[in-house]
Symmetry: C2
Subunit: 631 residues, 2 copies
């Protein structure tokens, strides 16, 4: 059945035929699934036909080939089109193709990296372009390879601010290895978009951000071909092709009709006939540029020695008893880690003097990316870079990761490995007030699938955990503090994910104080106060909040029967809930627990005053513990 498809002859006709096949297949798989977005696929079929047949450089038998182009469907709901392309190149067979949206199928409703050709999950609109910008930054500044990044956007998603953060970053960075194709089919989910087919409105916006722009008829094969050719050749700027298209193109029952979004076409057999029937065209996609081995692999993918330095790095050392902040220790550790880990890259949101990534920026300027105050693009760039094997650390104030929470959520769906470092955690920030305080960061980051949440209390611990973060899979989060705190651990002491430290313990302990970060020092002081009252308190530094140390906490619950948790965070979703959760999962009756947390809206005050006012200081802890013990 397979027809040999020679693109060199009768190009226009052949590409039209391929486009019709992509439409037919989009109709077929959505019909088989009884759900999906065929009409949003059909509008972009001509665009993707020309891309596949004439411009994409990709070895589908080797998705890890370092010279492969990258293609991101920012409009992830056009997955029928994407899977139809995979069928057209022979990457997937008919049977798998028709498993679209079924349980256990790799062909999910929106593409995810369960398919090896998919770099990142899309489906939350406005994310594919910023991530593509990250990939293009990697291509230009890190990999220094000639691959091109292609992003297919919908017109609706151009309303997202993240698109304009991406436009700013790409324009400023002159990413001429990036081509964006916007499928301007004028219809969103519930009706017309703001600008309809006014591609000039979009062109003016992209142009203002420094982009090369073209406006075309997205169903005219020759015009599309010319536009791709011009875009790929235009130097010094990213390029956007704004293509006027018709949603559901080719099937009269749905073409350019409202109310046809996100559902199979009404009569799929008729539609297939109208589109000229099922085809079995097989496309030969141009191979990627062959690149030299030295260029070929991002550092992380190097054999053996790409990993070894992790074990050889020397974290900075802080004298026990001295004062140091965890944010500074993180910054110095990151700079040191960068010396032996060439795959580490760092992105910061214009606060590197506060987060302390400035140390890394100074030591390794070629791997530091100033992202300015655009947290969504910053996260997206990190996700894009890790696609290429780079190991990104992303830093801003803990509070401001909330700005990019959707990107963090989706990073987990993308199976991306990124490391977030949030400084200025909690009310302990002090006088700047609540807008600057990360008080929901632990809750938000715990509720990310497969995440790790680490909250160091001391400089040596923060330094060590910075190294641990580098080797984490998934979304890692390190929470650092603004103020200085006593150094309580020895330099070079090893801290594991899922571990904790029992800082005080005696056989007759009557209560356990569980803390993390700044509250560890308050808990230690509270234990002293309690000792004066004749109460023996165990103190646990639960620096690993997710996963939390089940064994140590259950032993403490069993042995002391009473637990006070204390955190510089809202009461919901943080350390206290993490502790309760593992104690509850033990299948044994739980101990008596008091959870201390920030329960009032802070204002301005000194850090010490904040802890007192919020009831998470040593005196509050001691009082709560004494009450539990019954004093």
């Amino acid at each position: 059945m397979s027809t040999s498809f020679v693109l060199e002859q009768g190009v226009t006709r052949s590409l039209h035929e391929l486009a019709q096949q992509l439409r037919v297949d989009s109709v077929r798989c959505s019909a088989a699934a009884s759900s999906g977005h065929p009409t949003s696929s059909m509008s972009a079929a001509d665009l993707m036909s020309v891309l596949l047949g004439r411009y994409l450089h990709y070895d589908f038998t080797n998705p890890d080939a370092p010279g492969n182009d990258h293609l991101i469907f920012s409009k992830g709901h056009a997955s029928p089109l994407y899977y139809s392309m995979l069928r057209a190149v022979g990457a997937i067979g008919e049977e798998e193709f028709l498993s679209y949206r079924r349980a256990r199928s790799r062909l999910e409703g929106h593409p995810t990296p369960r398919l090896p050709w998919v770099d990142v999950a899309t489906g939350s609109l406005g994310q594919g372009l910023p991530i593509g910008v990250g990939l293009a930054m990697a291509g230009k500044n890190l990999d220094k390879l000639p691959y091109r990044v292609w992003v297919l956007c919908g017109d609706s998603e151009l309303a997202e601010g993240s698109i304009w953060e991406a436009a700013e970053q790409a324009g400023y960075s002159e990413l001429d290895n990036l081509t964006v194709i916007v499928d301007v089919n004028r219809l969103g989910q519930r009706g017309p978009t703001r600008h309809g087919w006014d591609t000039a409105a979009y062109a003016a916006r992209f142009h203002a951000f420094g982009w090369h722009t073209q406006e075309i008829d997205g169903h005219d094969i020759e015009e599309i071909d010319r536009a791709f050719s011009v875009a790929a050749a235009h130097p010094g700027a990213p390029s956007v092709i704004l293509a006027r298209t018709r949603k559901g193109r080719g099937v009269a029952a749905v073409e350019d009709k409202e109310g046809a979004h996100g559902k199979p076409v009404p009569d799929p057999d008729d539609a297939v006939r109208e589109l000229g029937g099922i085809r079995d065209i097989r496309v030969q996609v141009a191979p990627p540029a062959s690149v030299l081995p030295a260029q070929s692999l991002p550092a992380q993918r190097l054999p053996a020695h790409g990993r070894w330095p992790a074990r050889q790095w020397r974290p900075p050392a802080y004298e026990p008893g001295s004062m140091a902040s965890t944010r500074t220790a993180f910054g110095e550790a990151l700079a040191a880690l960068g010396d032996t880990r060439p795959e580490i890259v760092v992105l910061d949101g214009e606060v590197s003097d506060s987060t302390r990534t400035a140390s890394f920026a100074k030591a390794h300027p070629e791997r530091f990316f100033e992202c300015y105050i655009a947290e969504q693009q910053m996260l997206a760039a990190a996700v894009g870079m890790q696609v290429r094997g780079w190991v990104p650390f992303v830093a801003t104030f803990a509070a401001f990761f909330t700005r990019a929470y959707d990107f963090i959520r989706m990073a987990a769906v993308s199976r991306a490995s990124i490391r977030l470092v949030g400084s200025h955690a909690g009310a302990a920030v002090g006088a700047d007030g609540p807008s600057q305080m990360g008080l929901e960061d632990v809750a938000a980051l715990r509720a990310v699938h497969g995440s790790t949440v680490l909250c160091p209390c001391d400089a040596n611990q923060a330094a060590w955990l910075t190294g641990v973060m580098a080797d984490l899979r998934g979304v890692g989060y390190l929470r650092t503090s603004r103020g200085e705190a006593p150094v309580i651990y020895q330099p070079g002491e090893r801290f594991e994910v899922g571990g904790s430290r029992v800082l005080r313990s005696a056989p007759d302990d009557q209560v356990t104080l569980v803390a993390a970060g700044v509250t560890v020092h308050e808990a230690l002081a509270a234990a002293d106060l309690l000792a004066d009252d004749g109460i023996s308190a165990r103190v646990i530094d639960a620096y690993s909040v997710k996963p939390v140390d089940v064994i140590t906490l259950r032993a403490a619950a069993r042995e002391t029967g009473r637990i006070v948790t204390v955190e510089d965070h809202w009461p919901e979703g943080g350390l206290g809930d993490a502790v309760l959760s593992v104690l509850a999962a033990g299948g044994q009756p739980l101990p008596v627990v008091t959870k201390l947390a920030v329960r009032a809206m802070p204002g301005s005050a000194t850090p010490d005053e904040q802890l007192q006012l919020m009831g998470i200081d040593m005196a509050s802890i001691a009082t709560a513990a004494a009450e539990l013990v019954g004093h």
Copy 2:
């Protein structure tokens, strides 16, 4: 000491003097606090002097006056300048002025509505402008009053995508009652901005989004005055004044110097002398337009009868035993509520056919705002509208509120009352896959100060709770489901915040199943399965997840000794953690608890398959409960 300040004479000189006073006072209060951002204040002093002396219409003795202009410091860190303005108009005295950033002072590090003249908290950059756009929308479309909205932005924050969502909304809506002043002082926190003093770069961007633009010298009083005059008179478009300024203007030690951000000037006494010494100018600000009583007050502020209809509305009724979705019930209830509550406004992110706010849009088009796919601007618009007393409901997919999480967090700092409704919650969404599933929404929304989180399982419950939401203070969240479910409650049954329903109960109950939303129906079916095995299970519908029903849950824990919680949500921060948290706070040992939640990354599947695959279906619940009981 007070000098009478006649602006009509020697205007330029007087305004310069006022600007110098604002600079001196910015230096003074930051010095007194030993922290703050005087240099970011000094750059904008001339701009604010002209605004205060010549253009603002505001009665500082009556901040609720309906004709008052609105002034938002989007660059909230310039709080010393704002508080200096309050001193200059006599709104605050010298003693309070010097309490800046002290514990319990209303003069926080970044402005909050603890001060009656502050509409919303700022300090998370990129939020003030979108909220200002919301206020301007209220002025033009709801209040229909002649007040003007003034927003002072920094140049650094123009990198935020939320700024361009706002630019799009304002340009499209032709908000000529909005004037934005950008203090282009070219220095961010850690160094130069991307575009420095290239105001043309910013002007091109705003112009592309449909704005009227002006570029001026931000220290030239006459040029500023002219620009304000032109901006206020320009019809049919929002206006932006891009003012080139020098950070720290007027004090040589810090003027236009890097490294001077966010700290007091080195020698404040010298700086005050250099600026010409302390002044005590008192500004007479122009009064607001007097507006007729009928126009004057937003609906919510009306006496008595503005509230009464809440008790008279008729929620839609669903037949027990029939099938209906909670999202549809919400939509129909909202439309009905709109009939008797003229202060309710609805904003949707281009998914009103999915969230079902389309019912309201159809019934009350003049109070429905299509926000397109721009969740940050949508949230900000709601925050702006509630400043004017409107009662906003904001709807999108539960998953996509993550896009606006920073705005939700800050809404709490703003003491704003907004109601969020997230549809398509959980894995039960089905075939669309994880990008569309709200699986962290409860965790994120619980971790917002003062929030309320409601998860209805049935149409009559969803309808009633929609009415309850209207009267909530703070951030309210209603979680609705995509699929239909059996109606189990009677029409008109009343559900309270903090309540629950015990759906099955017997004296010999051996275990309690706690569920919310779709899992309630699974729990009921599980109880049937358990009954077949001779296990008596209590079933609680914990529709109020925050606050959760302490009394009922503690009674169940005491009486049955074993609890299974089950939620269509990640295990962290949701219903299970909420239940554990209140049981732990009881001062009594906890029961044995098993928490069922979504622990694997879902793919595509049917809703029923999803619940099975994720281990939150009836069979999984029954198995977990039987294990707890020891069968």
